[in-house]
Each structure stands twice: as C-alpha cells, then as structure tokens.
C-alpha cells in the first residue's frame, strides 16, 4: 500500500560520484600528456593527484623564508585572515548596530558605504602599503576592507528590521539599554549578522589570496604566484584545490554557526 520511497540521499551521493567521474574524464581528455617535450600541457588528474600526495605527505617543511610546506602557507594565510577578519567583524557589528538603530544616521552614511563597498580590495593595496609602511599590515587592512562591508550592511539591515513587537515587549518590560541589546537586539538580528559574517569570510579568503599574489612572502596566494612563475601548472591546480577546500571549510563553519543561532518565528 505504501510505496517504498527510494532513498534520496543515496541517489544524490550516487549522482555526485557520477558527476565527479564525468568531470575527471573530461579533464583527462582535455589534458595533454606531459610527454617528452618540454612544453607542459594542461596537467591531467593523475599528475595533480601525485603532486597532492607529495605536498600533503610533508605539509610542514621549511626550506628558507621563500620555500615552506603547504601547511605553513595555508596557516599563514589563515593567520592574516583571522586578524583582519576579526577586527573588521567587531567594527562592522558595532557600527552596524548603531546605524541599524538610527535610521537617519543610516540614511546619511549610506552613500559613503555604497561607494566604499565596491572598491576592489586590491586597489587599496598601494595606498595601504604607502601609509602603513608594512606589507603584512597592508594585507591585513586589505582583508579588513574586504570584510567590513558585508557584515556592516547585514548588521545594519538586521537590526533595523527587528520586529517592532520584540522592541515593544522590551519597552513594556522596561529593560535597560544593555538588557535590550543582549536579550533582544543581538539575538533577534543574529541570523542576519551571521549571514553577513559568512559572506565576509568568503570575501576575506578571496582577498587574502589576491593580496598575497601581489605582495608575496608566504601564504597560499604566494604559493600560487611562485608556482606560476615556474609555470608549474600542476602545483597551481593543486593550490586551487587547496583554496577551494579551505574556503569550503570556513564556509561550513559559518553554516553551523548560522544553524545554531537560527530561530523560527
């Protein structure tokens, strides 16, 4: 009487594997075998897998300041992101709450936010290098600039969109300013704020790679640049994969956080 529902997850996983195989197959076809000639073609999946194995089997070697294992590179990028991102998040949430609670201030500040937001973080780099006189500081500020806006915009929006009802209840209960802030405003706007934080971590990750490609030294972006200079496509592709996976993990962290603080109205 009841039809056996085919397991959806199972079908999705099977399809997923199928897609992967198809992609690898096409890739293999597209890649030119790196034969006897010197000119490398596009490396195939096997070559990338070999490099991946090599690099991952020794992620933390250190052969001088310009040659470190992939683990060090990723950690150094993540370190920069951590600093720039946390600073930006604190500032953005703070400003966002203020703007969200003051519609007129929001309206007044909006044009500037709108102009500053679309500026490519890399375009800031020369200016920051010049004014801060420190490459790492400049990179961190670039990350700061790339992450500030999404969080700021989302916080301001989230706070300004808090339902009147909740604020009314806070008023009826005569909550203090801090009580209102921590018991009502922050939890009510939390899902929107975290959505902003999640977009921001994506921008930060994009920005750090770009900044490191420009400034060099350490970091996964530098790794890409360095391998590109050696025309070592296989390693560039490996680095692209690493960037993707790390980005995925960062994003997944925020998805979990979002789930934890979500509420259903």
């Amino acid at each position: 009487m009841t039809l056996a529902v085919p397991n959806e997850t199972f079908r999705a996983v099977a399809l997923s594997a199928l897609l992967l195989f198809a992609a690898l197959f096409v890739w293999q076809l597209a890649s030119t075998p790196s034969g006897g000639g010197r000119t490398q073609g596009l490396p195939g999946p096997a070559a990338v897998a070999t490099v991946t194995w090599e690099m991952l089997s020794e992620p933390f070697y250190d052969r001088g300041p310009n040659d470190k294992g992939i683990g060090f590179q990723v950690l150094s990028s993540l370190g920069r992101v951590a600093i720039g991102y946390s600073l930006a998040s604190v500032v953005a949430i703070f400003l966002g709450v203020i703007l969200g609670l003051n519609p007129i201030l929001l309206k007044a500040a909006n044009p500037y936010i709108q102009i500053l937001k679309p500026i490519s973080p890399l375009a800031w780099m020369p200016l920051f290098l010049y004014t801060i006189k420190d490459a790492t500081g400049a990179m961190i500020l670039v990350i700061f600039m790339s992450t500030l806006w999404p969080t700021l915009a989302n916080t301001a929006f989230g706070v300004s969109a808090i339902k009147r009802d909740y604020l009314n209840v806070a008023a009826l209960l005569q909550l203090s300013w801090w009580g209102r802030f921590f018991k009502v405003i922050l939890p009510a706007a939390a899902p929107t704020i975290v959505a902003g934080l999640r977009i921001s971590i994506g921008s930060a990750w994009v920005a750090v790679v770009a900044a490191e490609m420009l400034v060099g030294g350490t970091g996964i972006g530098y790794f890409v640049w360095n391998e590109w200079n050696n025309l070592s496509l296989t390693r560039v592709m490996f680095a692209i994969l690493v960037i993707g996976v790390v980005g995925l993990i960062l994003d997944a962290g925020f998805t979990r956080l979002a789930r934890a603080i979500a509420y259903i109205e």
């Binding site: 009314n168 008023a171 009826l172 209960l173 018991k183 939890p187 939390a190 509420y263 259903i264």
Partner: protein
C-alpha cells in the same frame, strides 16, 4: 470621573497614506474601567482598536486627551500594564521558560534566582505548559503560544492586562478551549482587563461590558453593552442562556448595519444592558 483606568477624550491622528496631511483615526474616545472588570472593545478592522490599546499601554502617544491609571497619568510603557499581542510577540530564540523568566526578572530585579525560578514555574503551570517549558515557541501550536503570552503577561502582575485580539490567530476550534481557560484564570485572579476583538462570541463569553466602536476614520465608541449573563460561563453553557443570542444578534446587527454610517450627526451614545435592547 475617577474610575480605576480612565480614558479621557483621547484622539489619534496619523499621517494619511497619500503623504501630506493627517488623518483622524478616532476622536474623543472616553471611557472608565473599574478595577477588577473585564471590558472589551468590538469594532471593525482598522477602526483603531489596536491604536487605542497601544496608547493605554504607552507604546503609542495620544494626539490629544490622556489616560489615567490608578490616579497616575500614563505617557510611557510600564510594568503596571502588560499586553497580550495578537501575534503572540514571543521571543522566538527563547524557550517558553526563558520568555517568562525575562518578564519575571524585569518585574522583580531584586529577586534571587530560586525565587524567580519558582515564580516562572508557577505561571507556566497556570497555563498548563509544564511539559513544554523547554520548547521554543516555533515548536508550539498557536494556542500554546498564546498561553505563553498570557502567562508572561500575568507573571508581571500588572494592574491592567491589555489583550489585543489575543485569539485571532488561533484556529476556531482550539480558540474555544483557550477562551475558557482565560475565563477560569480570570475568575481566580480578577485582574482588570481591557480587551480588543472583532469576535462577538468571544466578547460575550469573556466580558462584563462590551464597547462597540464605529468604523474609522473618526471612529468613536457608539454603544456600551453590559453583559449580565452570570459567571462562571462556558462555551456550551452560555449558549443556553436566554439572552445569549439576543445580545449576539444585537451586536452583529450593529456591526453589519449601524457601524457603517459614521456620518450620522449627533446620535447620543446608547447604553444597553444584556438582554434589554431594542
């Protein structure tokens, strides 16, 4: 006049939708509510019932006139008045327990944790939600949510309870059960209650007195009906009372026919007592 809650010549103007001017929602509304009575305003959607209730709550300011509660003029929200909202207005990120605790702590900042805990549990039990205390509002049915809203309002022990269509979003059949619960809680506590609704049956079941409001703009209270059907009342028993359908038909007739004319010149406010109407 010196009733417990005294609404004197309150008017409210809002910017009209077109943009420029101001629109009169209601004008010179006036009524007194004695301590321990249950008074209901019935009127069409948009006539300004919620606005009036919000003015009493202190969430909205009157454009003219004033409200005096227990001898003190009202101009801001306060813990002496609590509202039960139509859409419950529970904090969705808090459990039932926390929703009530935040109110209890606000009302009694000096209390110790254990005292607060006991008080919260008492009110959760009052509305029969002990099993659901740790659930979030989203996990509850509409009826259960409004029970939380009622418990929260009672938990601060306000002088006046303000109910804004508290059961409008609850499905018709469970609505009856929770109305009866409210009746029985009220019978025990005898709070002063000001309720707003457009459900005539609900008004008759719960109220000592029903005020009928005309349609807006420039709405006004056109009639007051005293409900003399003896308490305790229940949904099934009340419909057997000889006056029940007479009162009901009278009010429905008012709402359908007479409230339409808001331009009648100077009809004096009429006052009826349950069952005696023309």
């Amino acid at each position: 006049m010196g009733a417990f809650l005294e609404v004197s010549y309150v008017s409210k103007y809002f910017p009209d939708p077109s943009g420029r001017g101001m629109q009169c929602i209601f004008k010179d509304v006036q009524c007194g509510i004695d301590q321990g009575t249950f008074v209901t305003v019935v009127g069409h959607s948009g006539c300004g019932k919620s606005t009036l209730l919000n003015i009493i709550a202190g969430l909205e300011r009157a454009s003219a006139g004033g409200v005096v509660l227990d001898g003190k003029e009202i101009d801001a929200p306060g813990l002496d008045r609590m509202v039960v909202f139509q859409n419950f207005a529970l904090m969705p990120w808090m459990s039932v327990y926390e929703n009530i605790r935040v109110a209890v702590k606000a009302a009694h900042p000096a209390w110790a944790q254990t005292q607060v805990h006991a008080c919260v549990l008492k009110y959760i039990e009052m509305v029969g939600l002990t099993d659901a205390a740790s659930k979030r509002p989203a996990m509850l049915s509409g009826g259960m949510r409004q029970r939380v809203g009622i418990a929260r309002a009672f938990s601060v022990e306000p002088k006046v309870l303000l109910l804004d269509e508290p059961f409008a979003q609850i499905d018709a059949l469970t609505r009856g059960a929770i109305q009866e619960e409210l009746v029985s809680i009220w019978m025990r506590t005898r709070n002063t209650v000001f309720m707003v609704t457009h459900d005539v049956d609900e008004a008759i079941l719960l109220s000592d007195r029903i005020m009928l409001m005309t349609r807006g703009p420039e709405a006004e209270i056109a009639e007051v009906v005293d409900i003399t059907i003896p308490r305790p009342r229940s949904r099934t028993s009340i419909i057997e009372h000889p006056h029940y359908y007479k009162i009901r038909n009278h009010i429905i007739h008012f709402l359908v026919e007479r409230s339409r004319r808001c331009d009648r010149p100077a009809e004096a406010m009429s006052h009826h007592t349950g069952g005696i109407h023309g």
